[in-house]
Every structure is written in structure tokens, then in C-alpha cells.
């Protein structure tokens, strides 16, 4: 065990910090789910990141990355959040589909999809859920019918994050007549393809953060299938493991918020409930614990281990920590808590505690509800019967 950074890692941190200081926009961008303009502003930011070669630092150079390891990725993320840089509009691509493509894609698929993903030229939405298949994802009904070198896709997807404005989506489609976990394939489709209809759905924060997607005889090349025909469930589980385990929520996000919370507490403690100090300290402890857990996981993976069912504990921990942290912030704000910030008053690094609180409430639901995560922990980590 050696919990200190090497000189190379320290130099890397300095390099990231220096570049971000010079490039992060001074004013926060409009949220990518709020409007087409906000979405495109974030795409432009991804292009700026790409100009510095920061699109996805862990990917091989050939695919638009820098070939760095997971500890360097954590350092990059720490500096990214510390700098108050814009949210990653392409997170469904770079954090979710990207690692899966790296593992299951053919060289031609990697060459086709990864570089424009790293640069934000192609922004991805996920299309996991269907109206009848949420927590029970194996109940997916959308179909892929093979026709020569193509598939013809039909079905109904919903709660697709980023799908209102994104370019591409990936989802599970089954061979007609197949059942449950068998016969499903993971297939990519363009969201503006003939036969695709997107209907925006407003979230409780008012943003059109997800869409309902209807596919009517949408023709895609078989090249757009990741892995073997019928391997979709297996691939999907690998994707979910990465999402829950490591990449989806950087510890840095919560460490920045916890440090801001401590600052707000010190500024307002004279007018706030003194009992809240324990919650401020707890928010800091939680963020630290999450960071240490992720560093330990990154070390384990670097030593050759694979992510397993313990990834589900991460998802529970960060989602519950996020709600507690923001509840504490609102409690400190007291009567001011309900007030939405005036447009244009938030600067880089300022926290919109109210909007972030509303966002945090989604945490226990998406990426597999926390009830499902607890089932996974109980059955696959602890070995309890199904």
C-alpha cells in the first residue's frame, strides 16, 4: 500500500489543472437537457476538450484517447470537477458504451464509433427501458429482424436520457419469438433515422432530459450490432457493472460538493441549526469514503481484478450520499431553500443546491433502482437464494 501520488501523477495533475484553467468557460453553460442551444454548447465544449486531447484519457491513442490508467483517470476527473467544468453531455457514450465497445467491439467498430464519441461529434443516448420493461429489463419486447446485411428494428423505448437532442442511441432488441435473457442483441441506431419518432418527456426539474422513442421498421446495418447475435444480455450486464462500479459517478463530484457545503456552513452557521454541523461533517466523510473505495477499486482493477457484484454497493452509496448532502444544504439555506436562483446569477463553481437536490432524487432510480441493487448484493455477493 502506498497512498501517495508518484511524481508522474503529480505532473499529470498539474498539466490537467493548467489546461482547464485556461479553457473552462467562466460562465456555466445552459444545461444540456434544457434546450437545443444548451446541448450544442456542451457539444462545442467536448470539441474544445478534444482539441487538448482530453476526450477520454483512458482510451488508446488510436481511438481518441491518451492511453492512461485508471488512477490518472481519477486525477483527471478530480481536476475536472475542481475546475467547475461543464457536465459531460456524452456520458452515455464515453462512460457507458465506450468501455463496452472496447471490450466487445470489433476493430472496425472501435475505429468507426470511438473517435467521434471521444470528440463529441456523435453524442449518444441510452435506450434501455421500455414501457413494460424497467427493473425487469429482460422483458424487452422491441425486435430486430435480420434482412440480409441489415436489421429492421421495431418497438418502443422510454426514459432514454439525452435522446431528445442526441445523435445515436443503443438498446436491446430481440429476435422475434425469443424469450427473456435469450435472443437479445445490443444494437445502435441513429436517432434521426427514417422510422424513429422521439417524444420529449419533461423531468420533475422541468428539463426534457429524456425521451420516448418509437421505432417503426428502422433499417440499420448489421455492423451496428455489438458482440454476437443473442449476446445482448451478457453485454448489457457488463455495461451496467461499469456504470454502477466506476465510471458513472466520479468521487470528485461529491468531494467538490462536500467542500462547498462546508464553506456554506461556515458562512451561515450563526443563523443555522447547530445540529446540522454533524450532517456537514457526515457529507464530507461520505465523499471521502466513496473516493477511497473507488481508489481501492481502481488499484484492484489495475492489478488484474474484474468488477463484480460489489459494484451495486457503489450505486447505493453514492445515490444515498448525494441526497443526504443536498438535504443538508437545503436545511442550512432554511427559508431561502425554495428560491430558484435568478437566471444568470450562478458563476463557475457555484452550486445550484436546489436543482442538484432535485437531480439527486433520480439517483436511487436510474441505472437500476436501489431495490434491484440490493437484490443483486444479497444474491450475488452474499449468496442468498433468489
Amino acid at each position: 500500500m502506498d497512498l501517495s501520488y508518484t511524481p508522474k501523477q503529480q505532473a499529470f495533475r498539474a498539466e490537467v489543472r493548467h489546461w482547464l484553467e485556461a479553457h473552462v468557460p467562466a460562465d456555466p453553460l445552459e444545461h444540456y437537457d434544457a434546450s437545443r442551444a444548451g446541448f450544442e454548447a456542451h457539444r462545442a465544449w467536448e470539441a474544445t476538450l478534444k482539441s487538448g486531447d482530453w476526450g477520454m484519457v483512458t482510451w488508446p491513442k488510436d481511438y481518441g484517447g491518451r492511453g492512461l490508467d485508471l488512477i490518472e483517470w481519477l486525477i483527471f476527473e478530480e481536476e475536472y470537477y475542481r475546475a467547475g467544468a461543464p457536465g459531460r453531455v456524452n456520458q452515455n457514450g464515453i462512460f457507458l458504451l465506450g468501455p463496452t465497445l472496447m471490450e466487445f467491439g470489433t476493430p472496425a467498430q472501435k475505429q468507426r464509433f470511438l473517435p467521434p464519441m471521444a470528440s463529441g461529434e456523435e453524442i449518444w443516448a441510452q435506450a434501455w427501458s421500455e414501457p413494460q420493461a424497467g427493473s425487469d429489463l429482460a422483458g424487452v419486447r422491441a425486435t430486430a429482424v435480420r434482412d440480409g446485411d441489415d436489421y429492421v428494428l421495431s418497438g418502443h423505448k422510454i426514459w432514454s436520457s439525452r435522446a431528445v437532442f442526441a445523435d445515436w442511441a443503443f438498446g436491446l432488441f430481440r429476435e422475434p419469438g425469443s424469450e427473456r435473457h435469450k435472443g437479445m442483441s445490443l444494437i445502435f441506431f441513429k436517432l434521426d433515422a427514417p422510422g424513429v419518432t422521439r417524444t420529449p418527456i419533461r423531468k420533475i426539474n422541468g428539463h426534457v432530459g429524456f425521451a420516448e422513442i418509437v421505432l417503426e421498421d428502422v433499417r440499420v446495418p448489421a455492423f451496428n450490432r455489438l458482440g454476437d447475435e443473442g449476446q445482448g444480455w451478457h453485454i448489457c450486464m457488463a455495461t451496467a457493472g461499469f456504470e454502477r462500479g466506476l465510471m458513472l459517478r466520479s468521487p470528485a463530484r461529491y468531494q467538490v460538493a462536500a467542500a462547498s457545503l462546508a464553506g456554506m456552513w461556515q458562512a451561515r452557521r450563526n443563523s443555522a441549526d447547530p445540529l446540522l454541523e454533524a450532517d456537514v461533517v457526515r457529507a464530507f466523510m461520505n465523499a471521502e469514503a466513496y473516493a477511497l473505495n473507488i481508489y481501492q477499486t481502481a488499484s484492484r482493477l489495475s492489478a488484474g481484478a474484474k468488477i463484480g457484484a460489489e459494484a451495486s454497493t457503489n450505486k447505493i452509496f453514492w445515490s444515498e450520499m448525494d441526497i443526504h448532502l443536498h438535504q443538508t444544504a437545503l436545511a442550512i439555506l432554511g427559508a431561502d431553500a425554495e428560491l430558484v436562483p435568478e437566471p444568470g446569477t450562478l458563476r463557475r463553481g457555484d452550486h445550484d443546491w436546489l436543482d442538484d437536490y432535485i437531480f439527486a432524487l433520480a439517483g436511487p432510480i436510474y441505472a437500476g433502482s436501489n431495490e434491484i441493487q440490493r437484490n443483486i448484493i444479497a444474491e450475488r455477493m452474499l449468496g442468498l437464494p433468489r
Partner: protein
């Protein structure tokens, strides 16, 4: 940056797990309780023979010169069996303190020696009846006393495998070792309480899992019901987010700065909370059986309760974290911060 344990560390921990697992069985707990004993001389001799008592004594003072991470793994294994003997107090806290103050002391060269330690914060002293010497706090100094100069009054701990005593002593009859670093002793105590808490917590979950697989109600194992699963999944989640804090605290405690102190306190708080959560979940999962003296889970609950109060309350330890949070930079680049030494 490397957060993995070395092969040697894992081997040492495996030795402890095997020794404790073979000798400190539930049947043995029962035998000790029936005879109202909390010390097994045979096991203590085996513990001394493995070198666990000499781990934190420097080689120059006759010890193995190992680090707090190494010992934390042993303490974790001790927690898993709710070890009655004072391994952690004597070898984890008292011996390294004595080695700092009196490196030539003969006690340090006797691996079977038991050194009881009495910080001012603790109302009672554990295993004082078997101690060969006492390290006592007064006005920031450490005093070393022999058992014949100490008046022991037994007190009753809720933990039946722990012997505690109120003590009376006269500084004039003890050896003044001078000003001592009681904060460092508190740091080590916090880290090793955390390590024991991790062992206690995992044992509670493991006992409950075994029972929930076996016990049938409504025609199915109760472990197949989500209400039962979710109790244990939550307890396991608490463990998974306390263990890396405990290991990081052990790895940095020797820094002795405000960051290391805060992390030790953090580890202690969350590990003992995890132990309490897991033990209570295990009692609930066992149902009425869990509330009976015959089922072992209460021993884990009681050990966690005993550890939670001594060497500083949770409020004391939270204040140490607050001191770090409110007087030093916080944020994602500060996870592994240490005080810069002033040249």
C-alpha cells in the same frame, strides 16, 4: 498510488484468521462464558508465538517493526471472532507507546507480556487482571506501574467476553516515563477499533446469511424475501464503504498530522456504525432466536457497543474530523493530503 495489500500482509492476516478461527469458535465462546472467563492462556501463548504481539515494536526494541496496516488486518481478524484476549490494547496500542518512551524496557522483549493501558478518557481498564504492567495517563505523562501497585475493582461490561476494572494507583509508586503522545495512542486505538469493527460487522452479516438460507417460513428460505435481503445488503454496503477508510487510516496514521487523525476518527466512526448496523440487522433476521442468549449475534453487538465508547466518544472523533474539514483545504485533490513539514 497503490491501494492493494502485499502478499506478505495477506499471509499474516491469513495466519491470524486461521489461528483465531480454529481456537475462538462459538463453542469456545460458550465454554468461556460458562466458566466466567475472558482469557485463554493457551491461545495467548499461540498468539505470542506467531509474533502478533511484537508487530508494532521496532526491530531496534526487539520487535518485528511492522506497520499499522499489518496489525489492522490482525485486529480485523480478532474482531471477526470477538477475541476476548487484549491483543489490540496490549500489542496495538500499549506496546508501541512503551517502545517510543522506553525502547530498552524488558517487557518489549517478552512476547507474552500483557501491557494494560489506561488513558484518562476511559473509565475502566480492559483485561487488567492478566496484565503484567500498566501504562497510565496523568497530566499528559505516561506512568509505568507494576500490578502489585494497582488496586483493581471489577466492573461489569455488557460484553461477557471482556473483563474491565476500575483502577486505583499512586503516581509515587509508578515510574514516570515523561510526556507521552496520547494523541498518537488515540489514533492507533481508533484505527484498530475500526479494524475490529470491520471484523464484527462481517461476522454478523455472515451469521445472518447462513441463518437466512436455512430458516424456512411460508415454505421458502427467509433469505429469499426481499425485506430480509435488503437489511443484509444495506449492512454489507456499510461495510464496503468503511473498510477502505479503515485501511487508508491504518496506512497514514504514522503521519501523525491533522489529516491522519481525521481519517482515523472517520474510520472508527463508520466501522463501528457498520458493526452496530450489521449486528442489529442480524438480530432482526434471526427473529426471536436473535434475541436469545443462545444465538451468538448478541456477542458481536455488545463488543461493538463496548468499543464505541472507549478511547473517545463518536462526538470526540467527529470533532477531530470537523477540525480537519474547517481548517484545511477540502476537495478532490486533498484525499491523500498530508501536512507539509516546515523546513
Amino acid at each position: 498510488m497503490d491501494f492493494t495489500l502485499s502478499a506478505e500482509q495477506q499471509m499474516f492476516a491469513h495466519t491470524a484468521t486461521t489461528l483465531f478461527g480454529n481456537t475462538c469458535t462459538p463453542a469456545h465462546w460458550r465454554t468461556m462464558m460458562q466458566h466466567d472467563r475472558a482469557f485463554d492462556p493457551d491461545r495467548w501463548a499461540q498468539i505470542a508465538a506467531t509474533g502478533f504481539t511484537a508487530m508494532l515494536v521496532p526491530e531496534s526494541a526487539g520487535g518485528l517493526g511492522l506497520g499499522e496496516v499489518d496489525f489492522a488486518l490482525i485486529a480485523q481478524a480478532a474482531g471477526y471472532v470477538a477475541l476476548p484476549e487484549p491483543l489490540v490494547e496490549s500489542a496495538g496500542i500499549a506496546a508501541p507507546m512503551l517502545a517510543e518512551l522506553a525502547p530498552d524496557h524488558a517487557l518489549l522483549r517478552d512476547p507474552a507480556a500483557i501491557i494494560a493501558i489506561a488513558p484518562a478518557a476511559n473509565p475502566v481498564v480492559a483485561s487488567a487482571d492478566v496484565a503484567g504492567a500498566f501504562l497510565l495517563e496523568k497530566d499528559g505523562h505516561a506512568f509505568l506501574a507494576t500490578p502489585d501497585t494497582i488496586a483493581l475493582t471489577p466492573a461489569q461490561s455488557i460484553d461477557p467476553l471482556r473483563r474491565v476494572f476500575r483502577i486505583g494507583w499512586d503516581p509515587a509508586a509508578a515510574q514516570d516515563l515523561g510526556p507521552a503522545d496520547w494523541t498518537r495512542a488515540t489514533d492507533r486505538a481508533a484505527v484498530f477499533a475500526a479494524a475490529q469493527g470491520m471484523g464484527l460487522a462481517q461476522r454478523a452479516v455472515d451469521l445472518a446469511v447462513a441463518y437466512a438460507k436455512d430458516r424456512q417460513q411460508f415454505g421458502k428460505p427467509i433469505g429469499s424475501y426481499q425485506a430480509v435481503k435488503h437489511h443484509l445488503a444495506s449492512a454489507q454496503t456499510a461495510i464496503e464503504f468503511a473498510r477502505p477508510v479503515m485501511l487508508a487510516a491504518a496506512a497514514t496514521v504514522a503521519q501523525g498530522d491533522i489529516y491522519a487523525r481525521a481519517r482515523a476518527s472517520h474510520a472508527r466512526i463508520v466501522a463501528l456504525e457498520a458493526a452496530d448496523q450489521a449486528a442489529r440487522a442480524a438480530i432482526q433476521v434471526h427473529g426471536a432466536m436473535g434475541y436469545s442468549w443462545e444465538v451468538d449475534v448478541h456477542l458481536l453487538l455488545k463488543r461493538a457497543l463496548a468499543l464505541t465508547g472507549c478511547w473517545g466518544t463518536p462526538a470526540f472523533h467527529r470533532a477531530r474530523i470537523a477540525a480537519r474539514l474547517f481548517t484545511r483545504p477540502a476537495g478532490p485533490d486533498q484525499t491523500f493530503a498530508k501536512e507539509q513539514s516546515v523546513a
